[in-house]
Amino acid sequence: MDELNKNRDACRKGYVFSVDALLAIFVVLILIASFSFFSSRSKSEAFPLMSLQIRTNDVLVTLDKLGYLSGKSSSNISLFTNRTLGSSVGWQMDIEYYNYTEANNTFKLASALHLGDNSSNPDEIALSTRVFLVKNATNVTNYGRVMLKTWSRWR
């Protein structure tokens, strides 16, 4: 009888040990899986935003050098920006034109353009600003400041 009880105890202990080991291995596997998932994810997400930031800077430089910003044409600026950034990128642009008064040494807002998508409120954006001059044949007629905000529509 004692022998039988000893065997039963041994079986119970073995079973408990197995369950215990199973649970421990399960926890370790979950930790490893979580680590590998998050470590590879963070690296792949670091570059799209940098790429978007570079493209955002490029748009402002080319808009300025092509004379679109000084031309003050909303349609030309919007068309160029849409074509350059493509449909996968949302954007919003604020352009301000200032008059400079030398006597007071002040800049006064003359006009402003608000272009692009005003309804979106994305979490992650690229932002670029640029200051430019509007000239006629001989003089500077306005001083301008432009801010371009872009974001990926696929996120």
Binding site: G14, Y15, F17, S18, A21, L22, I25, V28, L29, I32, A33, F35, S36, S39, S40, K43, S44, F47, M50, S51, I54, R55, D58, V59, V61, T62, K65, L66, F80, R83, T84
Partner: protein, 150 residues
């Protein structure tokens, strides 16, 4: 005992598989990072500098660094032409492309018509990483595309 052994073997196999996958992911991410850094750096040199020496296009074999710009994002026709006429291996060395990575260089206008191109088109199934920069060439807007194969 039998149950414990089976559980151990299954768990160990799972561990090996996960470790292998994590290693491959890390290796792949590391290679991607290298390509991304190279592409960003090369395109920045293209659109942000005129190269070293500044008139390298007159004798491209003596170029120390390749730059294609007259001013920021305003590219020189002569420099682009000189770059596209360089032999492939020489151009790879001059732009500082790491070994094992190939490139395709294209400039298109706003209608997507090709203005300049050089480099290779690969048929092999390799990772393709494109880089695009908005530029001005010959007074008109265009897009520079650098595609790296690794």
């Amino acid at each position: 005992m039998l149950v414990a052994t089976i559980v151990f073997v299954v768990a160990f196999a799972g561990f090996i598989m996960l470790s292998d996958r994590a290693y491959r992911d890390t290796l792949s991410a590391s290679k991607f990072d290298g390509i991304a850094i190279a592409g960003t750096s090369i395109t920045e040199s293209f659109v942000g500098s005129g190269g070293v020496p500044s008139d390298w296009e007159t004798n491209s074999s003596n170029a120390q660094a390749i730059g294609l710009a007259d001013s920021q994002n305003y590219l020189s026709h002569a420099k682009i032409k000189a770059f596209t006429l360089m032999t492939y291996n020489l151009s790879k060395t001059k732009i500082g492309l790491p070994p094992g990575i190939d490139y395709r260089f294209i400039v298109v206008n706003m209608s997507n018509a090709t203005l300049y191109q050089s480099g290779v088109v690969l048929n092999k199934s390799q990772t393709i990483t494109p880089f695009r920069r908005s530029i001005i060439v010959n007074g008109s807007p265009a897009e520079l595309r650098l595609i790296l194969y690794g």
